[in-house]
Symmetry: C2
Subunit: 121 residues, 2 copies
């Protein structure tokens, strides 16, 4: 049987829109998503789950109500459940997100920037 | 408050032994582990969970009973639960593993190559 690796850069090359995560793999009840982001996102939290950010290219700042963290290429961060955060990228950032199925990118904030949930590349 | 990114290469620089995954982060009930591997591992499966491999450096082959997949830098693969597999690295490979807490590196095979579970760097 032929098995196929998932190449993160190949997957990222298949789309250009920002702030719209694309599913690339499932592990149990979790999804792996690649996303390109630039500029400011909305403040939100995920009341029921932690969320992992892993930066593949660029420099991402995640603002919290009481501080911030900057992730460069090859760096990850776990945003704890229930903690309000706002990602910000001065220049385009490519990254991997890992979170349970059913987790919306805007969390409990909702609104017009909520991305479709079942968007695979 | 000061938040700190987790730098994967920094974490990998803190140890040199092979086939002994080190925890670097927790997300809900899952652990993120970095590991260096070289040579052959043992055939095993994880009867209760999928397992994610993400190669950071080098080239890893995962053998299955009916085939194989090769992962190069920036490539990932989800080994489905219950599927027997044997990782192999001709030269040293650095990678990230993601799996539920309580998942042994040797799965249901056990044996002398079973790594300690609560090993953080």
């Amino acid at each position: 049987m032929t098995y196929q690796a998932i190449n993160l850069q190949n997957k990222l090359s298949l789309f250009n829109n920002h702030w719209s995560p694309k599913n690339i793999a499932a592990m149990n009840d979790y999804l792996f998503k690649v996303v390109k982001v630039k500029g400011d996102f909305v403040w939100h939290d995920h009341p029921d789950t932690d969320e992992v950010f892993l930066v593949l290219e660029g420099s991402l700042r995640i603002d919290f109500r009481d501080g911030a963290v900057t992730l460069n290429e090859g760096e990850m961060f776990v945003v704890p459940k229930g903690v309000e955060h706002k990602p910000y990228a001065q220049d385009e950032v490519k990254m991997l997100l890992i979170e349970p199925k059913g987790t919306a990118n805007t969390g409990s904030a909702g609104g017009e920037r909520t991305a479709p949930e079942d968007d695979w590349v």
